[in-house]
């Protein structure tokens, strides 16, 4: 079973994402900010990371930049999932090392389609 780390400071969003991704046969781990997520990845790299942008302590962009510097950190497929939807910001996220990008609000169909595109399903 593939492991997906869901990183979002909202517990409600994490819960929604967990339900959708469990339906797609992922095992889910959760983190509330980038720093927690980085600690998780240092212990065991997940297959996929669903990543919010704006979070306390360490935001999503900072996290993905740091992740990509870590040993083995190029491996996880990183999919942003954020209300940030300005093209320039999206480009910044992709330059920072993200593979795909979901603009909130999202639903199960969008997550599934994006994970298929990113080669995760």
């Amino acid at each position: 079973m593939k492991i997906c780390l869901v990183v979002d400071d909202s517990r409600v969003v994490r819960k929604v994402a967990r339900r959708i991704l469990e339906g797609l046969d992922f095992e889910i781990a959760e983190a509330g900010d980038g720093m927690e997520a980085l600690a998780f990845c240092r212990a065991a790299m997940p297959d996929a990371i669903l990543l919010d942008w704006s979070m306390p302590v360490m935001d999503g962009l900072e996290f993905v930049r740091r992740l990509r510097q870590e040993p083995g950190g190029e491996a996880p497929v990183v999919v942003f999932c954020t209300s940030e939807n300005e093209p320039l910001r999206i480009a910044e996220a992709l330059d920072g090392g993200a593979d795909e990008y979901i603009m909130k609000p999202f639903d199960g169909d969008i997550i599934e389609a994006k994970f298929v595109q990113a080669g995760l399903i």
Binding site: N85, E86, P87, I90, A91, L94, E100, Y101, I102, M103, F106, D107, D109, I110, A113, K114, Q117
Partner: protein, 273 residues
């Protein structure tokens, strides 16, 4: 929705477009008609059907048929035919001639022709001399207007469209996203009922006709397919939707690559000529 109303609407749609709406599609019919009823300022679907029965106004009939004939769609729907086109069909055709004509028959709200245009632009280096002409037609004026505007909601652009293609080929327009002017200009749009003669559109090298014919009754489907065969170049390729390949007329034979791809049968039409 009353069964006799469903029958009445289904008969109307079938006569106009060959579209088949069985009782299993009652929910679909009702939900589409309720959208139309709202748009027309009518209180209910029943009221809409009553009006269609009482005073058969051409514009209203046409609007009703259109909402019933517009399927759900997404960018790069089913993915595989696009990959096969990119890797096999287009390089082959481009090597043979400079100009390749593609027809998106039943283009709905435009995702299919735009996907095609983006794909060719993204992989332009594979076929440097290719001049691609994309013609997109649909029965629904409303679907065509949307297609031509290139405007899609945030939900729509997240169905099938990779994020890198979105930011390269679309611009943000308020809450929506709009296909770039360049992309919009690569497609020629036109309203067309496939039941009518389309020989004036000329010959095509590739014809997409996906998820359109499966809603036609068998006779109409066969008839449209044999005219599509005439519109297809001898070395051309017809692309049907997933699961639509059964019972094709002898004009076509399955092509390598599967996924609804068909070649014109080389023997077809020769005996008659």
């Amino acid at each position: 929705m009353k069964p006799e109303d469903l029958e009445f609407v289904a008969a109307m749609a079938r006569a106009r477009t060959g579209l088949m709406l069985g009782s299993e599609r009652a929910f679909f019919v009702e939900s589409r008609l309720s959208t139309l009823a709202r748009r027309e300022g009518l209180p209910t679907v029943d009221a809409l059907v009553a009006q269609l029965r009482a005073a058969p106004d051409e514009a209203l009939i046409r609007a009703a048929v259109e909402v019933l004939a517009t399927p759900e769609t997404s960018f790069f729907r089913d993915r595989t035919p696009f990959d096969h086109l990119r890797d096999e069909v287009l390089p082959e055709l481009a090597a043979r001639r400079g100009r390749v004509r593609v027809w998106s028959a039943g283009c709905s709200t435009g995702q299919e022709p735009y996907s095609l245009a983006m794909m060719v632009e993204e992989h332009g280096s594979r076929f440097p001399n290719l001049k691609l002409e994309i013609v997109a037609t649909d029965l629904s004026t409303r679907a065509l207007e949307k297609a031509q505007s290139g405007l899609y909601t945030q939900f729509e652009v997240q169905r099938g469209l990779p994020i890198r293609l979105l930011i390269r080929h679309f611009e943000k327009a308020g809450d929506n996203w709009q296909a770039s002017a360049r992309l919009r200009q690569t497609v020629r749009w036109g309203r067309l009922n496939l039941m009518n003669d389309f020989s004036k559109l000329g010959r095509f090298d590739v014809i997409f006709c996906r998820n359109v014919l499966s809603y036609f009754d068998p006779t109409a489907r066969r008839e449209v397919l044999s005219r599509l065969a005439v519109a297809l170049a001898e070395d051309g390729c017809l692309i049907l939707g997933a699961g639509e390949a059964a019972d094709l007329p002898e004009a076509f034979e399955p092509a390598r690559g599967g996924a609804g791809l068909h070649r014109r049968n080389p023997g077809y039409g020769k005996a008659a000529a």
